[in-house]
């Protein structure tokens, strides 16, 4: 579980530090203030040396297309001279984890002065030079537990071939739930089935859709639910609210001792359902030791979050952070459960 995070030069964020993270964190702020980028930074540091994750966070934004044109878009102002730096401190051990992302540069060098027309191409890692486009990313991960050990991985495009090198499994589990991953249920349900938690899933979903009694994967991988009709119904046809609820609850049940990141948590949810979802999130966060980061723009969603924290022992672990941006300055304003409650009671804007 992360206690704090510091981000430099990732996408729009020049520099942002957030301390005193709770176990369940709601992130608010105006458009383009960096909320989703914060989730992405967390996703990257969770995955540490998995060099495919930068491509994953692009796909979460609906950008599946892969091209050398997009490598610099990860860097603030597309300036690849300034490396991306993400560091996080773990709550229990105080271990500091650092991830540095640099461009892999395609450098043109003349190797044989035989003919001025002959130019060779080689891959160079490190600082970029004007005129040399990146062809990939290099990720360097270090931990304060053993600062001398650097785990380096990279991903790059050469021709049309994508190559990932140096990948190592991360001990920490992270799941990203967003509009682009809303229907990404199949593998997660399979994992829940393996862990024998389908009963708990149904129990949580019943709070939202009382008629649901079972949920299964059919022969072509589509999730179907039993809601008392003469045959099972594809969950996709049960409405956006149940779809989003299912995504969030599946992520929680599949992330014991890990981290769940939810972009636009209110997506498709009526405020009465939002309160039920938050109750489920708090319940599973506590029981399965899951840390949660969720973004929202919704006033109703914030009230649902605040009104759902009714577990006295867990109350201090529920936080709201407003990410503020003015030009190139970023900061996070921390609300404890009590401050949030006082603010909402007075109808003072917290977003």
């Amino acid at each position: 579980m992360f206690k704090s995070i510091k981000i430099k030069n990732l996408r729009a964020i020049t520099e942002l530090e957030i301390e005193n993270l709770g176990q369940v964190n709601l992130l608010v702020g105006q458009n383009n203030c960096g909320k989703t980028t914060l989730l992405e930074a967390l996703f990257l540091i969770i995955g540490r040396t998995n060099p495919r994750l930068p491509l994953s966070i692009n796909s979460f934004r609906g950008l599946e297309f892969l091209s050398n044109e997009y490598w610099d878009s990860f860097f603030n102002k597309m300036d690849t001279n300034s490396s991306i730096r993400i560091s996080a401190i773990l709550h229990d051990t105080q271990e500091e984890q650092k991830l540095v992302i640099r461009p892999v540069i395609q450098k043109q060098t003349t190797v044989e002065p035989v003919s001025s027309d002959i130019v060779s191409v080689r891959i160079q890692n490190g600082d970029s030079k004007p005129g040399f486009a990146p062809m990939g990313l290099e990720l360097t991960y270090t931990s304060s537990q053993d600062p001398s050990v650097k785990a380096i991985s990279s991903i790059f495009l050469k021709g049309n071939e994508l190559t990932a090198e140096g990948t190592k499994e991360s001990a920490l589990r992270g799941v990203f739930v967003g509009p682009a991953t809303k229907y990404d249920w199949r593998n997660r349900l399979a994992s829940i089935q393996r862990k024998k938690r389908v009963g708990e899933l149904i129990s949580s979903l019943k709070e939202i859709e009382p008629d649901i009694s079972d949920i299964r994967i059919n022969e072509i991988g589509i999730l179907e639910a039993d809601i008392g009709l003469r045959k099972l119904i594809p969950v996709n046809l049960m409405g956006g609210g149940i779809a989003n609820s299912l995504s969030i609850i599946l992520a929680m049940l599949d992330s014991q001792d890990g981290i769940v990141l939810v972009d636009e948590v209110e997506d498709g949810l009526h405020h009465s359902i939002q309160k039920k979802i938050w109750k489920a999130v708090f319940k599973w966060a506590q029981e399965l030791n899951v840390q949660v980061f969720a973004t929202t723009h919704s006033n109703e969603g914030i009230r649902a979050f605040s009104n759902s924290v009714d577990m006295p022992l867990f109350g201090s672990e529920a936080k709201l952070f407003r990410i503020e941006r003015k030009d190139e300055k970023f900061r996070a304003v921390e609300y404890t459960r009590e401050l949030l409650s006082e603010s909402l009671e007075s109808n003072w804007e917290v977003r």
Binding site: R303, V333, W348, E349
Partner: protein, 216 residues
């Protein structure tokens, strides 16, 4: 509890006035409009006991501080009833605990960022403990006040005294009776101010106006 979709309000002025309740909001909106002070954001704290909890929340509200940490708000005026002798000291302590610089004297602003001013109603120059005292002072020479005072004396002499006329707050009773004698009856001093039943040109308001003019 507010409804799930009740609108939230951002701080939209550099001058913020924090008062106790809705009655005060109505009163100060009317008085400030009379003084041609229009650029301010007024909010209710919800009673003197709420200040320790609400002030830290107010400082977090969207628009109070900028993303670079500087204060967007230049002036924060805190106005509450006296009720007790140590009211100024109590508010000053709450301001200090919230990380702001309080003024050293009543009716003045500090030189902090934001500048914090404290005014304890009805002011140091008026006897009493609350807004109603000030309102009544502005109309003390109104011909209806003779009747109001006589009625209050008569009612107060009853045995047992009616429960809705507490001795310590006879001014609330008087204010209600005064308002009952106006062309269109309203049930609070704030709405009375909106109807201009209190005399905003009265010298009784000089000390308060001197404080509020610093927000201009």
């Amino acid at each position: 509890m507010p409804s799930p979709n009740e609108a939230l309000s951002s701080i939209n002025s550099k001058k913020v006035i924090a008062v106790e309740g809705k009655d005060e909001i109505n009163f100060f909106n009317a008085l400030l409009r009379h003084m041609n002070i229009t650029d301010f954001y007024i909010l209710e704290i919800g009673g003197k006991g709420q200040f320790p909890k609400k002030l830290p929340a107010l400082l977090k509200a969207t628009g109070f501080y900028l993303a670079d940490g500087s204060s967007s708000v230049t002036h924060l005026a805190i106005i509450r009833d006296r009720d007790e002798d140590e009211a100024f000291k109590s508010v000053a302590t709450i301001v200090t605990n919230a990380g702001l610089k309080p003024p050293t004297k009543h009716s003045e602003f500090s030189n902090g960022s934001p500048k914090v001013g404290i005014f304890i109603m009805p002011g140091e120059t008026i006897d009493g403990t609350m807004l109603e005292d000030l309102c009544l002072k502005t109309v003390e020479n109104h011909k209806a006040m003779t009747c109001v005072n006589e009625y209050a004396s008569c009612i107060s002499a009853l045995e047992p005294i009616p429960k809705n006329i507490p001795k310590a707050k006879v001014q609330v009773f008087k204010a209600q009776v005064f308002l009952a004698a106006q062309p269109e009856i309203v049930d609070s001093v704030g709405l009375g101010a909106q109807k201009k039943y209190w005399d905003f040109e009265s010298h009784a308001l000089d000390e308060l106006k001197e404080f509020l003019i610093k927000l201009k």
